[in-house]
């Protein structure tokens, strides 16, 4: 009699046929035994067989009954044994993991980090880059911008004139719809307590071009461009829910916008907030998200301040549409011959517009995350190898007791699964928290991030990828170890010599790989950080520790203005600003208060052609000089902390009845009048043959950064708002410098504005520091993420190195004992161990540095004034790695030096 061994995992299930056969065999045995018994009693064989079968009873019934019952038993037993096996395996794996606490904690943390980083980037990339834009046939939507190759305005996407909409509608067949739009702020509600909203003025075909359908009501159309039917508004889903409680009755109601009645005709679909500031060129200063849309009649004249969006007809490619669009250049040139060469256009697919600038950064970070994951896996392999070394005896014993390779592999897999599960829980929590952090931190500069929520699929994908990678990383060493006979381990007492056995050499190769990868990540983070610090230290032209900026928007009903008119034509607006400045300057603590349009790093900049006095006429009108054009009050430079290099600021003597004056920036002065004083020189706005009044240069100011910290300075002229000959007054930016902290000042400043007109809200309140921070937000984001990766990589590499060295020291206790016995000082032993660690680190640093140059070239679009082979960064990285290596080696080195000489005598 033998007992049935309980087999785990590989329990074969009996087939129905097998069950039947087994039962027949059982019955046959019974009958044979009965017959044998009867024969023994002297009954004849044939008679005995007859008696035996007579005793059977209803065998067919029994066969059916037993067949059914055995099948059920088989299933139940199989299921229970499998479950038992898994539970038993998991329990024993958990017990082993608990015994190797250091290994378990390190492995779980390493993998959590890998999963979290991987899932987070995957989440962001899939949300921002991969998810389709929420518009119908979004691939057919494209932005149309102006393009003047002869003039560098510092940005490539230039605004267009209103007449382009009509020209394109009438002449370019490639588009089924085209619309122009621009930002406009609205004060919603009654005079007493208005709320400022960011709105968009758009021509009739806007929603048709975008390809969205109304949540409620309808959108406006081209018919709404005509006066009389243009006081209609489409509101965003967010505004509808927040302000109007999601009431469908809102359609048809009238609301007050800028003190004028508008009829709500529709609600945009949820999530529609086009255009969002982060998705559009920075110089357009579109709001972070748009809350309402009103119809715009394509302005026949006026400044070029429109963005155009078009829907390309189905079947027409972007290139074909681009070619078709070029036809308007000829039309424009026939219309305005002197502008020849300045009517270029460009067509940019909406997706490219929205994420194009972010794509390289996100892909770089994704690549970095892949490196980090690789590093995490190498670390797991490393840890597993160490575990394997430590467990050689245990494995050998289990193997000797009859555990198959499959059984041992199952044990490994179970351990890794347990570790991965724990890491998955921690990692997913980290991702969830990370996404919230990213959304708080990154939405204003990363496009589409508002729509990107925590995505369980990304987390799951990252989890699976990491689990698979970890499994491979964990099984590889097991597979390597399989080749070295485990019985050796029994004989040799489980001693592997560093530099000798296969696993030891594999461990050294792995640690060098880890160090190399971490050098790449640390160097990449270093490059981005250096680039960021260059940006932050670059001369912005302003500095105001207690500077505050804010905006006010004047409703045109009460502050009427006409384009192309002088100051005299909008006295109400000028009176408002003059009175507001007076009150602001009277607030205690205020050192200087001014208006500027725009303030640096805070808004769309006008540019204008101009003519300097005495210059020869340009060869073609397109070669007429261009400069940035800023409107300001007195004290703007003082409030911003900008140096006046020569001359004076505007003052009360500069008004509509005195000589027109202008302040130029340093770049403009150097460009126009190199080696001379600019003071007293004269320029006028417009082409050579035009005849507006001459403006006399009264001052030269330091260059101001206008759009980004990385731009190079461009010529700029600043004119006093009291003599302002050109743009609109409707939205103006204030800057206030004070001796007291700005937060305390804000109520008083609001009070000052309300004192002039209580119906005008103060909005977009930002400190001067905020302006710089917002402008460098993308660089900060990339640097922060990459630094996190770099630090993680460094920690992982240190853990790995520590593991290798500590293990080596443990294995060579006897050797150290002999050295001590032979008179080596503890310090010598410490040095010896540290040098061994440093030798591994050195190989990693050299290999990593070479790879870092490659990584730097990948990152170069994100680098400002830093080269890919930046010696400071690479040198610094090497130093950091060396230091990290020393720190990682120190503890084991000390342990080695403390080995007692008597250990030399111990039995190995």
């Amino acid at each position: 009699m033998s007992s049935e061994p309980r087999r785990v995992f590989s329990l074969p299930r009996r087939s129905a046929r097998r069950i039947r056969d087994d039962f027949e065999r059982e019955l046959a045995f019974h009958i044979d035994m009965r017959v044998a018994e009867l024969v023994e009693r002297g009954i004849d064989g044939a008679e005995a067989r007859r008696i035996a079968s007579a005793e059977c009873g209803d065998l067919d019934d029994a066969r059916r009954y037993v067949g059914a019952i055995d099948t059920a038993t088989e299933t139940a037993v199989h299921r229970r044994l499998t479950m038992d096996g898994i539970v038993q395996e998991a329990v024993s794996a958990a017990r082993r993991l608990r015994r190797a606490r250091g290994f378990t904690v390190t492995a779980v943390l390493t993998l959590s980090l890998g999963i979290a980083a991987c899932a987070l980037m995957l989440n962001i990339v899939s949300g921002v880059l991969l998810a389709p834009l929420p518009f119908r046939d979004a691939g057919q939507v494209a932005m149309i911008w102006g393009y003047m190759p002869s003039i560098d305005l510092g940005y490539s996407e230039q605004p267009l004139f209103g007449r382009y909409v009509t020209t394109i509608r009438d002449n370019v067949t490639a588009f089924s719809a085209v619309a122009a739009f621009r930002a406009r702020a609205f004060n919603l509600g009654d005079i007493a307590l208005p709320e400022r909203l960011d709105g968009i003025e758009a021509t009739g075909d806007f929603f048709q071009a975008m390809g969205v359908s109304a949540e409620a009501g309808r959108f406006f159309a081209r018919a709404n461009e005509t006066p009389g039917s243009d006081r209609v508004v489409v509101i965003s889903d967010g505004l509808w829910r927040r302000r109007f409680g999601g009431d469908r009755g809102i359609v048809g109601r009238t609301i007050n916008l800028n003190a004028e009645p508008y009829t709500v005709i529709g609600v945009a679909p949820p999530g529609f907030a086009f255009p969002r500031g982060a998705e559009m060129p920075a110089d357009f200063e579109f709001p972070a998200k748009s809350d309402l849309w009103v119809p715009l009649r394509p302005p026949a004249n006026g400044p070029s301040d429109l963005a155009l969006v078009g829907r390309i007809r189905p079947g027409v490619t972007l290139d074909a549409a681009r070619t078709d669009l070029r036809r308007i250049e000829g039309i424009e040139e026939r219309l305005i011959p002197q502008g020849k060469g300045s009517f270029g256009t460009q067509l940019v697919a909406l997706r490219t517009q929205v994420v194009g600038k972010t794509e390289p950064m996100l892909l770089s970070l994704m690549a970095a995350v892949a490196l980090l994951l690789l590093l995490a896996c190498v670390n797991i392999a490393q840890l597993q190898l160490a575990q394997l070394q430590r467990r050689r005896r245990e494995l050998a014993i289990r193997s000797a007791l009859g555990a198959s390779h499959g059984r041992l592999a199952a044990a490994f897999v179970t351990e890794v699964l347990l570790v991965t599960t724990a890491a998955g829980v921690i990692g997913t929590t980290l991702v969830w928290a990370g996404m919230r952090l990213v959304q708080v931190y990154g939405t204003d500069r990363l496009p589409r991030l508002t729509d990107t929520a925590f995505d369980a699929r990304s987390a799951l994908a990252a989890l699976c990828a990491t689990a698979l990678a970890a499994m491979a990383a964990a099984l590889l060493p097991a597979w390597v170890a399989r080749r070295s006979p485990l019985t050796d381990a029994l004989r040799s007492g489980g001693r592997g010599l560093v530099g000798g056995s296969v696993p030891a050499r594999a461990r050294q190769a792995l640690i060098v790989a880890e160090l190399t990868l971490s050098v790449v990540l640390v160097a990449s983070a270093g490059l981005l950080a250096r680039s960021l610090s260059h940006q932050l230290r670059s001369a912005t032209g302003f500095s105001a520790p207690n500077g505050l900026t804010f905006e006010v928007t004047l409703p045109p009903v009460r502050y009427a203005e006409q384009q192309f008119r002088t100051y005299m034509e909008h006295p109400a607006a000028v009176q408002f600003f003059t009175a507001a400045l007076e009150r602001l300057r009277a607030v205690p603590g205020v050192q200087a208060a001014a208006i500027g349009k725009p303030l640096p790093l805070s808004g769309a900049q006008e540019a204008t052609v101009f003519t300097p006095e005495g210059a020869p006429p340009p060869a073609t009108p397109a070669q007429t000089p261009v400069a940035e054009y800023t409107v300001a009050s007195s004290q703007m430079f003082q409030a911003l902390g900008t140096t006046m290099i020569a001359g004076r600021d505007f003052d009360a003597t500069d008004h509509e009845n005195t000589l027109p004056v202008v302040i130029v920036n340093q770049s403009m002065a150097k460009w126009l009048w190199p080696g001379q004083s600019a003071i007293g020189k004269r320029i006028h706005v417009g082409l050579y043959d035009m005849n507006p009044p001459w403006m006399t240069v009264i001052g030269v100011a330091a260059d101001l950064k206008r759009y980004s910290l990385t731009e190079s300075p461009r010529p700029e002229m600043i004119v006093p708002y009291t003599q302002k000959p050109y743009p609109s007054f409707s939205t103006m930016q204030f800057v206030v410098r004070s001796t007291t902290p700005v937060a305390q000042l804000l109520p008083a400043l609001r009070g000052a504005i309300a004192g002039v007109d209580p119906g005008i809200p103060v909005s977009r309140v930002r400190t001067i520091g905020d302006l710089v921070a917002e402008t460098s937000a993308t660089a900060r984001f990339a640097t922060a993420v990459m630094s996190a990766f770099g630090v993680s990589a460094l920690l992982l590499a240190m853990v790995g190195l520590y593991g290798v060295i500590a293990y080596g020291v443990q294995q060579r206790r006897q050797e150290f004992g002999i050295r001590r016995a032979l008179g080596a000082a503890p310090r010598q032993i410490v040095r010896q161990v540290v040098i061994e660690g440093l030798r591994l680190a050195a190989i990693g640093v050299v290999a990593g540095t070479l790879l870092s140059v490659v990584a730097g070239r990948v990152l170069r679009q994100m680098l400002y004034e830093v080269r890919a082979y930046d010696l400071v960064t690479l040198g610094g990285t090497g130093a950091v790695l060396a230091l990290a290596a020393v720190v990682a080696c120190l503890a084991p080195a000390c342990r080695a030096s403390l080995v007692e000489p008597k250990v030399a005598l111990e039995d190995a």
Binding site: M1, F29, D32, D58, I69, D70
Partner: protein, 108 residues
């Protein structure tokens, strides 16, 4: 007693009782029942094996293939802990039942 009228539960008790002596194959169980009752109860194979497999399904016995005394492969049945408990319950129920019946039949 006619074997055909043997109650199903009674047969189960007998089988369990037989297995108290240790693991047995089906033939040994039938021999044991025959011997214990001096041949009074001769159980047909069909109901016997139905009972054995039923008890296996109920986890009162576990079965495995072993080698019999004469060197042939035979299916052995072994009482499980659940089987022991079931036997105890059935035994006391049976004793109470038998006592009740004999009290009825005894001359007053």
């Amino acid at each position: 007693m006619d074997p055909a009228n043997l109650l199903q539960g009674t047969l189960d008790v007998l089988v369990l009782r037989a297995l108290v002596w240790g693991p047995m194959h089906g033939y040994a169980v039938s021999r044991w029942i025959g011997e214990r009752t001096d041949g009074l109860l001769a159980v047909d194979y069909a109901p016997l094996y139905k009972a054995l497999h039923r008890l296996e399904r109920a986890e009162c016995v576990s079965a495995y293939w072993g080698v019999s005394d004469n060197g042939r492969r035979a299916r052995y049945y072994k009482l499980t802990a659940a089987g022991r408990q079931r036997l105890r319950q059935e035994e006391s129920a049976w004793r109470r039942y038998a006592a009740a019946i004999s009290r009825v039949l005894e001359p007053a």
